[in-house]
Amino acid sequence: MEAPELRSPPERLERLVQALIPPAAREAVAGDLRELYQSSPQYISMAARTIPFVLISHIRRNANPPVLAIQGFFLFCCIMAVSLVPEGPLGRALAVALSALFLIGMLLADAYQGADPPSPKRAIIETILVTASVVMFVLHEIFALRAAHRLADSEFGLFMWALVPFAMPVLAGLRALMILARERREQLLGERMDPSELKAQYRHFQAQTRLRSWIQSLLLLGSAAGFACLCATYPVPAAALAWSLVSIYAVVGAYLLINGAAPGLPDKADFLSLRSLFQSELLRQHEIRRLIFWLWPTPLLFAVFAAVTTRPRSDIEPVLMLYALPATVLLCFFVAIINRERNSQIQEKIGILARMRQRQGP
C-alpha cells in the first residue's frame, strides 16, 4: 500500500516564508511551520505571527550595544559633515534620525547574514558601491567648496588621482582574498567526535582566547594610559568625550584581563553540554573581537567628530572633508567587512557543532 501523500505548502509560498526567516533559525523554524501546515491561509497566518518574534530574538542575540554606539557615533559624524545637512539643532536632529535608520538597517542585515560567505564577485560589487558612494560624496563636497572659493585645483586633482584609484582595488582585492582564503582553509571540526576529542579542541580554543585576551588587554590599557597623558597635557576639543574614550579603553582592557578568556571545562560535562559551552563561547569571543576591531579606529572617529561638530562648517579645513572623512569611511567599511567575514565563519562553526554527533564505541 502506498503511503499517504504528505501535505506541504505551495513551493513558492514556502520559499518566500523561508527567505523571511533569519538564516540561523531557518532550518528549524521553516521545518516546524511545514509540520504544522494545514492550508495556505493558515500557513501564512502562522508564519506572520511567528517570524517577527524569531527576527527580534535574532536581532537581540546579534546586537552588541557598545559596537552599535560606536557605529551610531560614526554615522552621526559622517552625516553632520555632509553639506546638504543644515547646521544647528535641526541638522543634529536629522543626523540622529538618519543614523538611527541606518543602524536599524545594519541590525537587520546582521540578523539575515548567513553562514555562507558571499561570492567574490558579489564582494567586489559591494566594495565598488561603497567606494563609489564615497566618491559621490567627495565630488559633491568639491563642488560646494569650489563654489565657496575654498578649494584649489591641485587639491582636487590630488584626491582624484591618489585616494580613489588606490582604495577601490585594494579594498575589493582584500575582500575577495578573505573569501578565497576561507574556502581553502581546512575545517578542523569533524562530523563525529568523541567527548575527549571535543574537549581537546575546546582546550586549544581556550588557550588561544587566553593569549589573545592578554595581548589585547595590554594594548588597550597601554593606549588608555597614553590617551590619558595626552588629554591631561594638551587642550583637547570635546574633552568630556575624550575622557569617555579613555575610560572605555580602560574598562574593556580590564574586562579582557579578568573575563576575556574562555572559561575552563566543567567537571562533569557530557558531549551535549560541552558542545553547548563551545558554541556559546565562540559567539562571546566573536562579540568581544567585534568590539575590539571597532575600538581601534575610534580615536580617529573622535578626531573627525571633534573637527566636524565643534565649529561652523565654513571653518572646517577642505583637506578634512576630502581626505580624512573619506579615509575614515573606507577604514570603517574595512572593519565592517572583517567582522562580517568573521561572523559568517563563526556561524559556520556553530552550525557544524550543532550537527555534530557523538562517536559511538572505541
Partner: protein, 117 residues
C-alpha cells in the same frame, strides 16, 4: 539555589515542557505541551522560539540539530534538553510555587478555592 535570575512564568512553562518531552523536545512539541500546560491561554509559536533562544543564552538549555526528515521537506529539527543549571532553576521555581500554593491553600482551605473559581 542557582546563581541565575529567577525564571519568569513563561520560562518555567518552556522548561517544564522540555523536561516532560525528554528526547522529543523541539519547537512543535514544546509549543503543543505549553498550550496544554497554559490552557485556556493561546500561546504564539514565535514566543516559544524567542524564549528558547533566551534560555539557551542563559545556558539553562542546550540544543542540537537532528537528521533531516522527509515530512519537514528535508530539514532538521532543533532539539532541546535541560542543562544542569536549567534543572536547578526549575527546581527553585517549583519550590517557590509549592510555598505559594501551600500559603493560599492554608488561607482558603485546601483545594476548595480552586473548585470555586
Amino acid at each position: 539555589m542557582t546563581d541565575t535570575a529567577p525564571l519568569g512564568q513563561f520560562e518555567q512553562l518552556v522548561l517544564t515542557a522540555i523536561l516532560t518531552l525528554e528526547e522529543n523536545a523541539y519547537g512543535v512539541t514544546i509549543h503543543a505541551r505549553i498550550e496544554e500546560l497554559a490552557a485556556p491561554r493561546k500561546i504564539k509559536l514565535g514566543a516559544v522560539y524567542a524564549t528558547l533562544d533566551r534560555l539557551e543564552d542563559k545556558r539553562l538549555i542546550a540544543s542540537w540539530l537532528s537528521e533531516p526528515t522527509k515530512e519537514r521537506g528535508g530539514r532538521s529539527r532543533r532539539h532541546y534538553r535541560l542543562e544542569e543549571d536549567g534543572e536547578a532553576a526549575l527546581r527553585d521555581s517549583a519550590q517557590t510555587a509549592r510555598r505559594i500554593y501551600e500559603t493560599i491553600a492554608a488561607r482558603w482551605g485546601g483545594l476548595a478555592w480552586k473548585l470555586q473559581s
